[in-house]
């Protein structure tokens, strides 16, 4: 009986310390920190590194006259300075100048379709602003571009190098006006001798960034 009484007394003294974690109500200061776990949703920031555009202009072949050209371009901006661009365009060239001298001309029909596509890399060399009137300033960039591709006409494919420069003026963040000047260099052997020809192209177009 005495042992049980001593044991009970001992336990009552020990109990608060043993179960301190479960019953802090013994002490005055009741600090139960409420750890609120917030779900932090990081919203995705939209980006527009890709560009898609259409352009039209003139394409002057070295031997077959000047004609209107139209095409599309798809590009990706890697850093603020470098970008890559793929272009596909089409025009019609004619050998009218030769038909006056040679009986059959060079091509089977007077006008033959010319298609070209290429992949180029460009550098934005002169970023800045252009000022229109007194109150408006638009971001712009002058770029140098060069690349390689293929020109196809009259059932022949010619490996083409292109080199050029252009100006891009941003009307809005998502749209720009682009004027592009390119020299397409490829070898042709239709006129007897195989020679490298330089074909200049000047186009203007609209580009959308998405």
């Amino acid at each position: 009986m005495r042992h049980t009484l001593i044991a009970a007394a001992f336990l009552t003294f020990i109990a608060p310390f043993v179960s301190a974690a479960d019953a802090p109500a013994q002490t005055d200061q009741v600090v139960v920190p409420k750890v609120e776990r917030r779900d932090v949703n990081v919203p995705k920031i939209p980006s527009n590194d890709f560009e898609l555009g259409a352009f039209a202009g003139t394409y002057a072949t070295q031997n077959f006259g000047t004609s209107a050209v139209g095409g599309v371009r798809l590009g990706y901006h890697i850093t603020e300075d470098f970008f890559v661009e793929g272009v596909y365009a089409q025009t019609k060239i004619s050998d009218a100048a030769y038909r006056n001298i040679l009986p059959g001309g060079i091509f089977p029909t007077e006008r033959v379709s010319l298609k070209y596509y290429n992949l180029s890399a460009g550098v934005n060399v002169l970023p800045g602003e252009v000022f229109i009137g007194r109150n408006r300033a638009l971001a712009s960039a002058v770029y140098l571009i060069g690349g390689v591709g293929t020109t196809k006409f009259y059932d022949q494919s010619h490996q083409t190098f292109n080199l050029g420069l252009g100006v891009r003026v941003f009307a809005k963040d998502w749209g720009a006006l682009q004027v592009d000047m390119r020299d397409h260099i490829y070898s042709v052997d239709l006129l007897g001798k195989r020679q490298s020809t330089q074909n200049l192209e000047l186009t203007a177009g609209l580009t959308f960034f998405f």
Binding site: E80, D173, L190, F209
Partner: protein, 255 residues
């Protein structure tokens, strides 16, 4: 009359679809909630365009809240509480705090991104049996040491031109090193078109098998240098096959 109507209708329909797609894009961007960060540095500079060549027109001081609306390459378009919108460089954005008070880790294109790269695009210049060759590829890295690569190549020789394409499976065992070798095998197609001025010229179509051994070197930012040596086998028919060797070096970038 009706023959001209159908292409015109097709043109109008495709233009309508394109305009509809374009109209849908900005609406999606407006609906998404914008992220707000607080400037922790002394100030951040807002440029008029996404590049270091564009002038600074406004400065957001410490403790000002800015909302991020758009990103292009390494530049973020932000809007201050007073309504001014400008572009801030990534390095300056790194020293901002989020709503919860923690510093936001802006995804810096560093070596970590290179290790997590998934899609790669590149182009290379080389020699295909001593004739100049150009090729472009796109690769999808589906595991740490394996990737699938689709390549398109063009060879311009004096007498003929070749276009080829092939799909490779490459293994890169030490892809986390700065300079890492890789090897792979693949299949594709090969087309050789001789110049029309040659007599009796015939276009050759053949299946192509190749084995490649190369090395990749991580340069900086998002660019990777690559050099490789490939053995191509063109299977002309059941009895005949020709072997070509090609060496190329080029540059690629990754997303």
């Amino acid at each position: 009359m009706q023959y001209r109507l159908i292409p015109a209708l097709r043109c109008i329909a495709s233009l309508c679809i394109a305009l509809g797609a374009l109209a849908a894009l900005p609406a999606h961007a407006v609906d998404a909630p914008e992220e707000r960060v607080q400037v922790a540095d002394a100030f951040i500079e807002l440029h008029t365009g996404p590049g270091r060549g564009y002038p600074v027109f406004h400065v957001a001081a410490r403790d000002e809240w800015v909302a991020i609306t758009l990103r292009r390459t390494d530049w973020f378009k932000v809007r201050t509480a007073s309504g001014k919108e400008g572009w801030v460089q990534r390095e300056q954005m790194e020293r901002t705090l989020t709503d919860a008070g923690s510093s936001k880790t802006f995804r810096d294109v560093a070596v970590d991104d290179y290790l997590r790269r998934r899609v790669e695009l590149g182009a290379a210049l080389g020699a295909f049996k001593s004739e100049p060759m150009l090729k472009a590829w796109t690769a999808w890295r589906f595991s740490d040491s394996l990737n699938v690569e689709a390549t398109v190549g063009q060879v311009q020789g004096v007498f003929s031109g070749t276009t080829l394409w092939h799909v490779n499976l490459n293994a890169e065992p030490w892809s986390d090193q700065r300079i890492s070798p890789f090897f792979g095998v693949g299949l594709g197609k090969f087309k050789n078109v001789p110049n029309t001025s040659l007599v009796g010229a015939v276009t050759t179509h053949a299946n192509l098998a190749n084995a490649v051994l190369g090395v990749r070197c991580y340069l900086s930012e998002r660019f990777v240098l690559r050099a490789d040596y490939t053995i191509y086998t063109a299977l002309l028919n059941d009895a005949k096959s020709t072997e070509y060797r090609a060496f190329s070096a080029g540059l690629s970038f990754f997303f």
